[in-house]
């Protein structure tokens, strides 16, 4: 990393008071994006979608750091991020009740869908089970598994 890169990164790290573990993630991702895309770190940090986050006066320090990491993660893992987004979109489209939670593992490793139900009565549990039975047959659900199995790309 050259002097200009180090300075650009230092500005962000100081402004957001980035801790050691977050710093390691940022450094790894920035260096790997830089190597992959043939651009220096300073250029990456000056990209619109990054600069908008770090300069947004409405965001607190923690929100800025979270959004910065999300954005860099998207840049570093574009295809993984697209598949995750496609899965999340399908989950949203199913319009599940809040007591019925459908999630996939971080990084999609394991290829399994986790379904969580939270019921405070027998009747509620029956309603949620019926709701789950309804969405199981939906095309969205089948597409989620196809995405997890690498059968379709996002």
């Amino acid at each position: 990393m050259n002097e200009a890169d180090r300075e650009s990164l230092l500005v962000v790290v100081e402004a957001l008071k980035v801790g050691e573990n977050h710093f390691k993630d940022l450094l790894d991702w920035l260096e790997e994006i830089s190597l992959r895309d043939g651009m220096v770190v300073a250029e990456i940090l000056q990209r619109d979608q990054i600069a908008r986050i770090t300069s947004d006066p409405r965001l607190g320090r923690n929100d800025k750091l979270k959004r910065l990491k999300d954005e860099l993660h998207r840049l570093r893992f574009p295809r993984l991020a697209r598949i995750e987004e496609e899965i999340n979109r399908r989950v949203r489209d199913m319009k599940l009740k809040p007591q019925l939670l459908l999630t996939v593992p971080a990084g999609l490793e394991g290829g399994a869908v986790t379904v969580q139900m939270k019921a405070s009565s027998y009747e509620e549990l029956k309603r949620l089970a019926a709701e789950l039975a309804r969405v199981v047959d939906e095309k969205d659900m089948q597409e989620i598994f196809a995405l997890l199995r690498g059968e379709v790309s996002a």
């Binding site: 260096e31 790997e32 295809r79 790309s153």
Partner: protein, 360 residues
């Protein structure tokens, strides 16, 4: 393939009587041999791991030679045993896990007490005649790259060739098969190559044989009566990988007789956070660390699952198109990935190991 030339050979007292020592003296008459009990620490260097590869230390191996392959936590294992006759490698692949595993080792170690190795193997194979063993020597070194200089194969192949319950696998990225051609494997030795398209070899497999050299060596071994193995490992994903890997598979099956192939394995590039740091430091131009790899439960980083499952399925399709019956397995992968690629997963490591025995 570039020939190996160490800068220094250090010999531990007591190793001068071994055939390996005699072979080294003959192979490197111009290189100074120093005799010691312990090699000096390496001088400070920008690349101590690279420097350690140019410094050969002939020493006795302490402890057991034969070990169960450690595999990887929670992954489907193939019930394999390993013999470490050397530690470290004369070649220098950018993705090699030894950069992390042997980071502090001051030299490329070769073990002189081959007689102890053979005694240990004889005892274990004799004690368990009803068990069929698959034993490999390519775990922490290349099985053949040093052979022209140390003559290890001539010492061990005749022994394993006469054992009824073992297959010895010699795994390599070299074309150093000359000494093997003078031996009779008696269907007990598999010579296996780690295969990658030439583009990957050029970029990330320094000092190894070219794809064509590996293929030519495989053909020579086939003609000499050896079974063959191929490891598409590590598979690397990049723009255009499909065309390169498909072409590689087609060229391979056009060159060798599929009936002589004992097994084929597939495994994608695996790293760890520590290995990636070593790679970026030692091979700053390598693009391998930029792949979309995520941390898996066993602590290794692999391409995210849908991506690598898709890679495996495509490779399997090309292999099956060339040879519908050849035995194919995955290396260091989870049951979930097995199921997504093959439609089944071995129930236990013995099942996978046994499935590989009928080829013996």
């Amino acid at each position: 393939m570039k020939s190996f030339a160490p800068e220094e050979i250090i010999v531990e007292a007591g190793s001068e009587q071994s055939p390996i020592f005699r072979n080294l003296k003959q192979a490197f008459p111009q290189i100074p041999f120093t005799f010691t009990d312990e090699p000096q620490a390496l001088p400070v260097s920008r690349d101590p791991f690279g420097a350690s590869k140019r410094r050969l230390f002939l020493m006795r191996h302490r402890g057991e030679f034969l070990k169960k392959c450690p595999g990887s936590d929670g992954q489907v294992c193939c019930n394999y045993f390993v013999i470490n006759f050397a530690s470290n490698c004369s070649m220098d692949c950018s993705y090699c896990y030894l950069q992390e595993y042997l980071a502090d080792n001051p030299a490329l170690k070769v073990f002189s007490n081959v007689d102890n190795l053979l005694t240990e193997a004889d005892e274990m194979l004799g004690r368990h005649r009803k068990v069929f063993f698959r034993i490999g020597t390519g775990e922490i070194t290349d099985s053949l790259a040093l052979d022209p200089y140390i003559g290890f194969c001539a010492e061990v192949v005749p022994f394993f060739a006469t054992q009824p319950n073992v297959l010895l696998e010699l795994k390599t990225k070299s074309d150093c098969v000359e000494s093997l051609l003078r031996l009779d494997p008696k269907e007990r030795v598999v010579v296996a190559w780690s295969m990658n398209p030439q583009k990957v070899i050029d970029a990330d497999e320094r000092f190894t044989a070219t794809f064509e050299e590996r293929l030519a060596a495989a053909r020579r071994c086939q003609a000499a009566g050896y079974k063959l193995g191929f490891h598409f490992d590590p598979m690397v994903e990049y723009d255009g990988w499909e065309a390169d890997y498909r072409d590689m598979v087609e060229r391979l099956f056009a060159a060798v007789d599929y009936r002589r192939i004992a097994w084929i394995s597939m495994g994608v590039l695996r790293t760890t956070p520590g290995l990636k740091r070593a790679m970026r430091s030692r091979f700053p131009a390598s693009r391998l660390p930029t792949g979309e790899q995520v941390l898996c439960p066993d602590g290794k980083m692999r391409y995210f699952q849908p991506l690598r499952v898709n890679m495996y399925r495509k490779m399997l399709g090309w292999i099956r198109a060339a040879s519908p019956t050849v035995f194919v397995y995955l290396c260091m992968e989870s049951k979930e990935v097995w199921e997504q690629v093959f439609g089944f997963a071995p129930s236990c490591e013995k099942e996978l190991g046994k499935a590989m025995v009928p080829v013996a």
